[in-house]
Subunit: 420 residues, 2 copies
C-alpha cells in the first residue's frame, strides 16, 4: 500500500469519455490498495476559451478577476471526475483550491504556493476516499482565487504530494516518458527508466516539454519522486518491469541521484530554437566593457544566456557574442543601440537562425573528455560552433539551425545512447 | 443616492458583447450616484452544457459534485462583468457565494439561503465599489458549494437586497414588466406600473414566467421592492415617468399594498395549461371518502389543486373532480387505481385538454360581485366551467382549453383592463 498523487493534464480530460478513462486509471491504483489524490487541469481548450473572453472584455484586466474566471475550468473537471469515480464505485470528492486550502502569495495569475495544509486530505485518504483536487489554483491572502500560471497543474501536483507525504507523484501526459532526445528527430532515441532531478531540470529548461521547470525544482527540494507516464495507455494494460511502490508500468522516474545506481555519463541531448545570437562588434577590450553591455540588458529584464568574447585584435578592439531569448531580440537590440555611445561599439549583428544543443548528464562530474567528444563529433561533421557554455552537468553549443538533425543524430551515437 | 441591487439573467449575459451592455446599465446607476450590487446568472446555454456533462458522467450523481460543476457558470460571468465595468472606469469586484458568504442549508442543488452577512459588501459599496455577485450559489454547512435550483438567481438577488438593506431590487429580464395578461394573446394587455407582492405571487404561481415564486415570497417577507424591467433597452435610453429613488424607467414595481394608492379590483388575469383534470366516478357519498381519495395522492407527493364534488344522486353515489399537475397525471391515475377497492369508485376519467384561468386582485377583498362577473362573462360566451376555486385575492376556473383566447379577451374587457 502506498500513497500516490496522480496528475492528468487537459488533453487527458478533454471530454467526459476521457474523464471516464482517467477514472479507470485511478480505480486501478485504488484497487491495488493505494491511497490516491488526483490533480486535474481544465478540459483542453476550455482555458483558452475563458482567456479569450477575458481579453474580449478588456485588453488590460484585473488579474484577480482573470483568476476567478480561468479557475472555473478546473472546477468543472474535479466535479465530473468525482462523479465518474463514484459511478465506478470508488469513493471520491472534489477539492477546490480554497477548500484544501492551497495557500499562495498574492501574485494573481502567476501565484506561488506558500503552504498546503494536508490534514483534511490525509484524513479522507485514510478513510479510503479519493481526493480529486483542482490543479493550477489556490487562495491568496485576500481570500480570493489565485492561479499559478500556465502549466501550473504540475506544480500543484508536486506540492500536494509533498503536503500529504506521497510516495510518488505520477504525471500522466501525452508522451510515455522522458527520452534521451527528441524521438521525432532521432529514431533511435530511447525512453529513460530513470533520470535525476538535476538532469530533468536542465532538460526542461532546455526545451523538453514534458514537465514544467518549476514543478521539477519543487520536487527536488521536497524529494518528491515523479513518474512521467502516458495517460493514453489502456488503464488495464499489463504493467511492465521497472521498480516503484505497487506500480510497475512504463514511463520515466525522476528522482534523486542516489536512486540511480548506474549513472550514464550523458543521459540526454536537448535542443532549443528559442535563442537568438547578438554580436557587438569592435568594442574596446578594457575592464568594464562587459558591464556596459550587459548592465542595460539586465535593467530591461532581458536574460543573457551564452557569452563569448573574441581574442583581442591589435587595435585593442574585440567582438562580444551572446544569446538572448528570440522573443526579446528586438527589445535587446533597441536597448543596445540606445547605449551605443556609452558602450562604444561599431556595429551590431544578430541571427535567429541558430539552435542551442546541450548534452546533459550528472556523470560528467566524474568523467573527463565529455565536452571534447562533443566538439570532435561536431567537427567531424563539419559543423561550426559559434558559442560554448558549460555547467557542472551540461555542455551547450550554439550552431547554425540547419545542422540540428545531423548534429543530434551524430551526438546521440557518439555518446552510445542509441537504442539497440 | 440610493442602494440598489440589479439582477441580470442568462440571456442578458449570453456573450461578452451583452455583458458590456449590462456594464453600461450598471454604470448608468453608478453615475446617478447609487451604490450598486449586481447579481448575475451564467451565460445562457452554459448551465445546460454543464448539466449535460454531469448527466453524461453518471445518470445518478452526487448533488455536491453537481453543484461544484454547475456553479462554475456564474463564476465566469462575475469575473467578466467586473472586468467590463473596470474597463468603463467603474470600480468593481466579483464575489462568489463562499466569499460573501451566502450561507445555505445543506440541500445540495435545491438549497435555501439561511444567512447572508452583508458587512463586507456594505463596506465596499460605501467605498464606491460595485459588488458583482454570483447568483444561484452559496456555501453549505459542509464548506462546499451549494446551488439554489433553477432560476435561483432571482432569489439570490432578493436575499442580497435584504442583507444590504437596498432600496430596490431591479430584476432585468427579457420582458419590460408585468402585464395584465399575456400580451401574445390579448393585444390590449397593459403593462402594470405597480403590483402587490400578493398579486405577483399568484401571477407567478399561475404561470406568469417573469419572476420565480420563491423570490417574490422572500421579497414580501423582507419588504424588498422589486422592479421588473427589460435588459434589452439601451442603457442610455431616456428614463420615463413613474416613481422610485433615482430611477424612473419603465417596468413594473412589485411592492407592498400600502405603496399602491388606487387599487384595481382585478389587476391581472393568468392562465396555465399545466393542469390535468381527474374525475373519480360514483363513489359513496359518506364521511371519509375524500380522505380515501386524497390520502394516497398526498402520500405520493402529488399536489391536488382544484376540487369539486357533485351533489349526491339518489343512490348515495357522487363524482369527485379535481386537478393535478399534468406531469403527475399518469402517476396519479396509477395511485388511484391501486386504491380502487378501498375508495370504492366505479370509473376514473381524466382530461388534459383543459386550462385554468384566474383573475387576481387584492381589491377583491373589499368588492362584492367580482366572481359573479367572471361567471356571467364566461356564460355569455357559452363557455362551460368545470371546476371553481377561490382564495381571498383570486378566483380560478377550469375550462376547456379551446376557449382560452376567447375567455381571456372577454374577461380582460369585462374587468376594464384593456389599454386605451
Amino acid at each position: 500500500m502506498a500513497r500516490l498523487v496522480m496528475k492528468f493534464g487537459g488533453t487527458s480530460v478533454a471530454d467526459v469519455e476521457r474523464i471516464k478513462n482517467v477514472a479507470a486509471h485511478v480505480k486501478r491504483e485504488v484497487d491495488a490498495g493505494n491511497q490516491v489524490a488526483v490533480v486535474v487541469s481544465a478540459m483542453s481548450g476550455k482555458t483558452n476559451e475563458l482567456v479569450g473572453w477575458v481579453n474580449e472584455a478588456a485588453r488590460l484586466h484585473d488579474a484577480r478577476e482573470y483568476d476567478t474566471v480561468v479557475a472555473s475550468g478546473e472546477q468543472v473537471t474535479v466535479g465530473l471526475l468525482s462523479i465518474a469515480l463514484q459511478e465506478m464505485g470508488v469513493a471520491a470528492r472534489s477539492w477546490l483550491g480554497w477548500q484544501v486550502p492551497i495557500r499562495t502569495n498574492g501574485a494573481h495569475s502567476t501565484a506561488r504556493i506558500t503552504e498546503i495544509d494536508g490534514t483534511n486530505l490525509i484524513e479522507r485518504l485514510e478513510q479510503g476516499q479519493v481526493a480529486v483536487i483542482a490543479g493550477f489554483q489556490g487562495i491568496g491572502p485576500d481570500n480570493r482565487i489565485t492561479t499559478l500560471g500556465r502549466g501550473g497543474s504540475d506544480t500543484s501536483a508536486v506540492a500536494i504530494a509533498a503536503a500529504i507525504k506521497a510516495e510518488r507523484c505520477d504525471i500522466y501526459t501525452d508522451v510515455d516518458g522522458v527520452y534521451t532526445t527528441d524521438p521525432r528527430i532521432v529514431a533511435k532515441a530511447r525512453r529513460l527508466d530513470k533520470i535525476s532531478y538535476e538532469e530533468m531540470l536542465e532538460m526542461a529548461s532546455l526545451g523538453a516539454k514534458v514537465l514544467q521547470t518549476r514543478s521539477v525544482e519543487l520536487a527536488m527540494v521536497h524529494g518528491v519522486r515523479l513518474q512521467v507516464r502516458s495517460s493514453f495507455d489502456a488503464p488495464d494494460a499489463p504493467q511492465g518491469g521497472g521498480e516503484g511502490a505497487n506500480y510497475n508500468g512504463p514511463g520515466t522516474l525522476v528522482c534523486g541521484e542516489d536512486e540511480i545506481v548506474e549513472q550514464e555519463v550523458v543521459s540526454g541531448i536537448a535542443y532549443t530554437k528559442d535563442e537568438a545570437k547578438i554580436t557587438v562588434q569592435k568594442v574596446q577590450d578594457q575592464p568594464g566593457v562587459a558591464a556596459k553591455i550587459f548592465g542595460p540588458l539586465a535593467d530591461a529584464s532581458i536574460n543573457v544566456d551564452m557569452i563569448v568574447q573574441d581574442v583581442s585584435e591589435e587595435d585593442k578592439r574585440t567582438d562580444v557574442t551572446f544569446t538572448v531569448p528570440a522573443s526579446d531580440l528586438a527589445r535587446a537590440e533597441d536597448v543596445l543601440r540606445k547605449a551605443q555611445a556609452d558602450i562604444g561599439f561599431e556595429e551590431l549583428k544578430s541571427d535567429t537562425d541558430v539552435v542551442k544543443l546541450s548534452i546533459i548528464g550528472v556523470g560528467m562530474r566524474s568523467h573527463a573528455g565529455v565536452a571534447q567528444k562533443m566538439f570532435q563529433t561536431l567537427a567531424d561533421k563539419g559543423i561550426n560552433i559559434h558559442v560554448i557554455s558549460t555547467s557542472e552537468i551540461k555542455v551547450s553549443v550554439l550552431i547554425d539551425a540547419e545542422y540540428t538533425e545531423l548534429a543530434l543524430r551524430a551526438l546521440h551515437s557518439a555518446y552510445e545512447l542509441d537504442a539497440a
